[in-house]
């Protein structure tokens, strides 16, 4: 055991992380699969997310309707998420129900039915989810940015996929994808909460050790070459606000530059929550961009985002403007602040401030058992649990020189894509220039 975590691997390759927390009588179990939109190709965009939906449609042992009830009736909450690099399923429930969560996840790791009628009913549900997303101008802008910023890497596409692929994917494609990726040697099982590690280890052996591994062939995921020119795009669509998104190619999470980037983003746009349950909530009103843009009445809000990913993804800023505002004036003011951070060294005090914010967010996040279980798996997807444990320490090691050197490289014009969403009452879906 290391850092109060028990970590081991079953002979079939299932990676397991356990953490006893006895503050309340609940447990949270997360089952992570190393599959997301990163693993998708043309023709099956959105398949990872659709398979996630179908994992709620049942097995012989837990038929659809029963599956829908089995966790809820014991007072549990459960759900699933699909992202760029991963798909994850969680159950948070009374501690004495841990067997149920283990049984269910072991069963649907290998025995999901993928009934044709269920697939067709869920096809329209997923399309409805896509349509709901498309109602949001920021979703449309972000989609266009990703598509422009990545020419080769699958990060070019939204997790939810494309309408055309969702309309045409077959049961065979979905089932094969499930079989290829839902295997113990492609999964991480994480449990935190009120249990005894020895007892739960025996249970995990009982439920999971008989599931055969399925050697996964190394996927040839294209490497995105360095961007060489600044990209610019405009979208027109319904709405009453103007949005600007500026996206720079970023570092992957398992790289020292990621920690430098986290401090930099915190200075510019405020701290990103990084945690999913119970963290966040710190305002960004003293951040440099808020002071330069919002306090000068150039934009009405600004935010930044850094995501921890396996491959280099995007570091994005979103500016929201009054519809009559001048977006180019906002971009000039944005660039002026970026130029400052490239030219002038920041102070140690600035770095310490970002660290204190991160420490506070980690403290808030640790109040929640579900969140603690989340972190064990999430960090293991792109690095290891040490990444989470050492996060603050890694931030502390960042120097003012690191920040400036990184900023000069990162904030190069040729490393970014700018997108502007112009509101109009006349719908023009194809007005991407």
């Amino acid at each position: 055991m290391q850092n109060d975590i028990s970590s081991f691997q079953l002979s079939n390759g299932l990676q397991v992380l356990l953490k006893e927390i006895h503050t309340v009588p609940i447990v949270s179990q997360w089952t992570w699969y190393r599959v997301g939109s990163r693993n998708e190709k043309a023709g099956i965009r959105g398949i990872s997310h659709w398979v996630e939906h179908l994992q709620f449609k049942g097995t012989e042992k837990f038929p659809g309707e029963k599956l829908d009830q089995v966790i809820s009736r014991v007072g549990g909450i459960w759900n699933a998420m699909t992202h760029l690099d991963w798909t994850t399923y969680y159950e948070t429930l009374p501690a004495n129900q841990i067997d149920l969560a283990l049984d269910l996840e072991a069963d649907r790791m290998q025995h999901s039915v993928f009934d044709e009628d269920e697939i067709n009913a869920e096809r329209t549900v997923v399309i409805s989810e896509l349509e709901g997303n498309e109602n949001d101008p920021l979703f449309r802008l972000n989609s266009a940015i990703q598509s422009k910023a990545f020419q080769f890497h699958p990060y070019s596409h939204d997790v939810i996929g494309t309408l055309e692929d969702l309309q045409h994917m077959t049961r065979d494609q979905l089932f094969r994808y499930y079989q290829d990726h839902y295997n113990p040697d492609n999964a991480i099982l994480c449990i935190a909460g009120d249990f005894n590690i020895t007892e739960v280890t025996a249970k995990i052996e009982r439920y999971f050790s008989s599931i055969p591994p399925r050697s996964i062939s190394e996927e040839n995921i294209p490497v995105e070459p360095d961007q060489t020119n600044e990209n610019y795009l405009e979208i027109k669509g319904p709405g009453d606000a103007l949005y600007i998104q500026i996206a720079y190619h970023a570092s992957q999470a398992n790289h020292r530059d990621f920690f430098t980037l986290s401090v930099l983003d915190s200075l510019l746009a405020g701290p990103s929550p990084l945690v999913m349950f119970g963290g966040g909530g710190i305002s960004n009103r003293t951040s440099r961009l808020y002071q330069a843009l919002v306090e000068k009445d150039i934009v009405v809000s600004v935010s930044g985002d850094v995501q921890a990913t396996i491959d280099p993804f995007l570091h994005t800023f979103i500016l929201t403007l009054n519809p009559t505002a001048d977006p180019h004036k906002a971009l000039q003011a944005f660039d002026k602040e970026i130029e400052k951070i490239k030219q002038e060294k920041i102070t140690r005090q600035d770095i310490d401030r970002a660290i204190q914010q991160a420490e506070a967010m980690f403290a808030y996040g640790s109040e929640n058992i579900t969140n603690q279980a989340f972190w064990m798996g999430y960090s293991s997807i792109f690095a290891s649990y040490d990444w989470y444990e050492n996060y603050i320490q890694n931030l502390r090691s960042i120097t003012d020189t690191d920040i400036q050197t990184f900023a000069q490289k990162h904030f190069a014009f040729h490393n970014r894509t700018i997108g502007i969403y112009f509101p109009t009452q006349e719908e023009d879906h194809d007005a991407i220039q």
């Binding site: 809820s72 549990g76 501690a95 009913a121 329209t124």
Partner: protein
């Protein structure tokens, strides 16, 4: 190390012997809970004034006033307040509702005195700088323009308007772009003059002993001098719904339409609240949205979300049904939801179906009380709705005692599938 004892969750819940409830001389009621498992504290609370006091043509004044509280007080500028909080990862915010003004703050233990001092200063001595009034007005108007394009928000706004008619619940707390434009500095200071400690409630949960929390709250809030209470605005009553009302809000260029339908529901204090609450859980919450989810999402595949909810307010409530669907499926979805309501009202719930919901509601309680924010919110509800300090101890027996007959009787009192308000928002089809 605490021993696992999963059969007796109640031992872990805040209760009359672990919650400290006391009143200050100026009328503030305080509920405090010591949660030494955490490293932080959360404070939340409410004052007895809100948008119901807004003048005609200036709807949004209470919201605007609350939003201005962070923009400077007699001791500190907006920048200094923000710096004090953000430099240590703390947070503080204010908002308005129809009948109340709310606040919420969070910090690490060492910073809690600073947080309470800021909360007090911002609540009692904001300075409303004109520069920030102009800036915030612009920000609020932009957020309202964004709201105007949101199908779900627009359907909900219209639903409240039709259901509550001339009662303040009919109006959006954040106002409209044109009413926000009308609000001047003197409107904000006038509204702020109605802030008073009498009937205010403060709830705190976190990693300090109870006596420390109590002395810190007293040290900060005892000094707030009581004022004459503001008189409650005159509210009209509620008119019964006599027939189905159907309307559509056209919003061009949207891929998805939103439906909101429903009627009046029980108030939080109603004797039949728990029966309706449980019935609604079976109807539109349990698992993936209950019976409505099974019909609209699972079987028909029409929607990503389709559910029902009870919005229980102090005086009355609403029983609401929501779905987001492709514009061509709006009518079909409305029919399916009405069919489910009809079926729900025909006969008592099956025992096993009801038991599932009961065990879910009882079992999930510990999860809502994990964090300081969850506990503080629960304490505030205990005070707001007079639930009693042993509410969490009694919750299981309260839920367990509800019968199918009680649920049917309560549900029939409120729901009638032929007398619903039905609003859709999105493109015309």
């Amino acid at each position: 190390m605490m021993q696992s004892n999963n059969t007796n969750f109640q031992n872990h819940f805040p209760n009359a012997s672990t919650i400290r409830r006391f009143q200050l001389g100026n009328g503030i009621t305080v509920l405090a809970y010591s949660n030494m498992h955490s490293k932080s504290l959360t404070v939340i609370g409410m004052l007895a004034t809100g948008s119901a006091w807004d003048q005609a043509g200036k709807l949004g004044t209470a919201h605007f006033t609350a939003s201005m509280l962070m923009r400077g007080n007699e001791k500190m500028t907006f920048r200094e307040i923000s710096d004090r909080l953000e430099s240590v990862g703390a947070s503080l915010s204010f908002s308005a509702g129809t009948l109340n003004t709310w606040f919420q703050g969070r910090s690490l233990v060492k910073d809690f005195p600073m947080l309470l001092a800021l909360l007090y200063d911002n609540l009692t001595s904001p300075i409303f700088p004109q520069e920030y009034i102009t800036r915030l007005r612009n920000q609020l108007i932009t957020s309202l323009l964004i709201r105007d394009q949101d199908t779900q928000e627009r359907a909900a706004l219209e639903f409240d308007k039709v259901l509550f008619k001339s009662h303040p619940y009919a109006l959006p707390v954040d106002g409209y772009a044109e009413t926000i434009a009308n609000i001047q500095r003197h409107d904000l200071t006038k509204h702020h003059s109605m802030y008073h400690p009498h009937n205010a409630v403060i709830a705190v949960s976190g990693a300090l002993p109870l006596q420390d929390i109590e002395s810190m709250i007293k040290g900060q809030f005892d000094q707030w001098a009581p004022k004459k209470e503001s008189v409650n605005p005159v509210s009209t009553g509620f008119e019964a719904i006599i027939e189905e009302t159907r309307s559509h809000i056209p919003i061009e260029g949207k891929s998805q339409s939103d439906i909101q339908m429903g009627t009046f529901g029980p108030s939080r204090a109603s004797a039949d609240y728990y029966a309706a609450y449980l019935g609604n859980h079976v109807l539109g919450q349990f698992g993936l949205y209950g019976r409505i989810g099974r019909s609209v999402r699972n079987k028909a595949g029409l929607a990503y979300y389709a559910f029902s909810s009870l919005n229980a307010l102090p005086e009355i409530g609403s029983w609401e049904f929501n779905a987001g669907v492709n514009p061509v499926n709006v009518e079909k979805t409305i029919t399916l939801i009405k069919d489910e309501i009809r079926h729900y009202l025909e006969e008592p719930l099956q025992e096993d179906e009801l038991e599932d919901s009961k065990s879910h509601l009882i079992g999930r309680l510990p999860m809502s009380l994990e964090s300081n924010a969850g506990i503080a919110n629960a304490l505030l509800s205990i005070e707001r709705f007079h639930l009693g300090l042993d509410y969490f101890q009694n919750y299981a027996s309260l839920i367990s005692s509800i019968t199918p007959a009680q649920i049917l009787e309560a549900s029939r009192r409120y729901l009638d599938p032929e007398k619903l308000i039905i609003i859709s928002a999105g493109v015309e089809k």
